[in-house]
Structures are given as structure tokens and as C-alpha cells.
Symmetry: C2
Subunit: 223 residues, 2 copies
């Protein structure tokens, strides 16, 4: 059996969970609270971050991109990057966009401030400047997503790909804290509803963080 060390609202962990689901690879989840700096976990991954995947042969894989590329190389169906070199480059550009730019500008400012800081035991509320910046950036990102969703069936082109997975992983954690103005971006909402209805995605919607409830629409496929 595979073991995935993860944390509930970590978008990088969610990306790997969805990819494992798409590839129909069974796995068990272990929650790792990296701020506890557990020596046994640091021995697995000296970067001390999640996700970490231990595969059935005992190989330890760290870094969410390394893991999803490994899964895509090892299990052909369904392809998550495509076959055309330019499409693969577009998928990877968008994965970099969400895991780099969106994460730094939106996810950390909203989910980091509202939930992760509390989980880590910081006292005091969210930094209001960070939250304000997060909302401003979120609007710009939703506009960009709307443009992609208008022009293409899936974010990187005709096929569902890692670009959709990375984007939906980030949106899902921001949605958990109730911060996505879905109604102002109907094309994005339509795209996200299609991702939400995939069997690989549904288990994430059942996650319930102790002490932090998602809004009622969070797990609703018809929101």
C-alpha cells in the first residue's frame, strides 16, 4: 500500500491526492503537522514539508511536482500532462502559476492567515493587510482563470490535466475558508463544478478540519 503524508488544507498535498485518484492508485493518508518538526518525518524529507509519498516498495518521494511527474511516468492512463510537447509545456506553466504565483499571492494570504497560523498555535488573528492583499490578488487570478475557462475546455487545452488539478487544489482550500466569489465568475464556477464532480476530487470535499467548518456550498456539487 502507498502512504501519503499530507495536511488537510495543504494544496500541494491535495494535488497529489487528486493525481493518485485519477490514476486509480489506492493509498492511505497520514496527517503530518510539519510545525512539530518530528525527527522521523525529517528523516523521510529533510525539507520537512508535505506531501511525501512512500510507495509500495518503500521508496520515499518528496516534492509535489516530483511525485506527480513520477506517477504520470509510471502509470500511463489517464495521461495528466498530454502527449504534445507544447501542451506539456503549457500544463507545466500553469502548474507553476498556481503552485508559485497563486500560492504566494492568494493561498498563503488567505488560508495561511485564517487557518494555518491558528493550527500552528500562533495567538492573535489574521494579519489584515495580508488578507486584503490576498483578496485583491484573488480577483486578478479569477479574471485570468475566467479567460482560460472561456477559451478552452480545460485550463491547458482540450484535456483535463495537472493544470486543472493544481488550480482546483488551490481554489478548494481558499473555498474551504469561504473566500471565493463564485457568482462574479460564472465561467470559473462552471469549470470548477466539472472538477468537483470527478471521483478523484470528491474525497477532498469530505475533509473536516477540527474547529474550522467550511461554508455549506463547499462540498455541494451543484453550488
Amino acid at each position: 500500500m502507498r502512504t501519503l503524508y499530507h495536511h488537510w488544507l495543504c494544496p500541494f498535498s491535495r494535488k497529489v491526492r487528486i493525481a493518485l485518484g485519477e490514476k486509480k492508485l489506492p493509498f492511505e493518508l497520514v496527517v503530518e503537522s510539519v510545525w512539530e518538526k518530528r525527527p522521523e518525518f525529517i528523516a523521510l524529507n529533510p525539507a520537512n514539508d508535505v506531501p511525501v509519498l512512500v510507495d509500495p516498495d518503500g521508496w520515499v518521494l518528496a516534492d509535489s511536482n516530483a511525485i506527480v511527474e513520477y506517477l504520470d511516468e509510471g502509470v500511463a492512463e489517464p495521461p495528466l500532462l498530454g502527449a504534445d510537447p507544447l501542451v506539456r509545456a503549457e500544463v507545466r506553466r500553469l502548474v507553476g502559476w498556481f503552485d508559485g504565483k497563486f500560492n504566494a499571492e492568494v493561498t498563503i494570504n488567505l488560508v495561511g492567515e485564517k487557518v494555518v497560523k491558528r493550527q500552528m498555535g500562533y495567538s492573535g488573528g489574521p494579519d489584515s493587510n495580508a488578507v486584503r492583499a490576498g483578496f485583491a490578488h484573488l480577483r486578478a487570478h479569477l479574471d485570468y482563470l475566467a479567460k482560460l475557462a472561456d477559451e478552452r475546455r480545460w485550463l491547458a487545452g482540450d484535456a483535463f490535466s495537472l493544470a486543472d488539478i493544481a488550480a482546483a487544489a488551490h481554489l478548494s482550500v481558499v473555498d474551504y475558508v469561504g473566500d471565493i466569489p463564485w457568482d462574479s465568475h460564472p465561467a470559473v464556477k462552471d469549470w470548477y463544478a466539472r472538477v468537483k464532480s470527478r471521483p478523484s476530487f470528491r474525497p477532498l470535499l469530505a475533509d473536516q478540519l477540527p474547529g474550522v467548518r467550511p461554508p455549506p456550498h463547499y462540498a455541494d456539487l451543484d453550488f
Copy 2:
């Protein structure tokens, strides 16, 4: 001809330059100062960051990982990721380590504070807390690099790879500002000397930033 939009001390641009050199693909460099927010450049890459590669057919590629993976898929020799799936995962883990963790903890704190802020027109000197944090993290990263360099011929294993390229790209910009204590980490120095002597790497050492001179050892292959 290929065109690479880059900036001199951008480690992500350097990673692509070295990869192009390893693959023996000719290219011309165009300096892009992204803080000027040039509309023509944003039309090429809405993320408004470098590197961006325009290939001979006019295709525009953005995101340094998307670019190097595209180059490695398109030109077989020399392979920059290896053939073994676990080695490829290790290469990508280390690329993520340097482009993510090292960049955030060291490159931005040292090169960002000492050079990039000035280039962007900020008045005032470097933030001394950031510089102090950068040095503290740098020591930890050099210790980790020393461990890898002791155990392996190249950072990810027996073969030179994108892991060496990403790591050397970051170290080279930190070295440009004179901040690497080479003598306290001889195994890292030996590894870096081997990277430095590669034909793909030498052009970087000739870069001279207006108004910022590198230390004398910077371009010296026998430092």
C-alpha cells in the same frame, strides 16, 4: 534562432541558459526588467516574469521548469533528468528544493536585498534582518549540499543533472554578491568547481552587472 528573455542575476533564467548550453542549442539573450511591466512582455507571459523562451518556430514558453522539461523532452542528449524513474524524482525533488526553499530562504534574502531592490529603484539599503536570516539559512543549505556532495558524484546521483544546474544557478548569484563561505565547505567548493568548468556554465561568469562588481574569485575556475 531562439530568444531567451532573462535578467542577469535571476537564478531561474540562469538555469535555462545552462540547460540550453548543455543541449548545445544556440540562443540570443534579451534583458527584460520585469519591474517596468512592459505590455509587450506581459502579452508574452502574463505572469510577467523571466525566463521566457521564444523557440525558432515562434512558440512562447514560460516558467523555468516548463522550459527545461520541454528542452529535455525535445533534445535527447545529454539527458538532464536521467532514465530511471526514481532518479528523475530525485532530480526534480532537488530542483524544487533550490527553486523553492533555497530561493525563498537564501537567494531572495541576500541577492534580492543587496542587488535586485536597488535595480528596481528602491531607495534605502538592504533589510538587515533579511540579510541575517539569509546567512543563517545559507549555512544550513551548505551543510546539506556538503552531505550530498560527499555521498554522490553529482547532487542527484552518478550523473550531472538539472539538480546540479538549479543548485549552481542559485549559488552563482549568491556568489556574485560575495556571500558564499567556500572555504568552510570544501566538498561543496569541489562540486561547484566542477560545474563552473563546464562550457555551458562559463558564459554566466562573464556577466557584469552595471554598478555591481562580483568578487575576484567569482569568474575564477580555480578559486
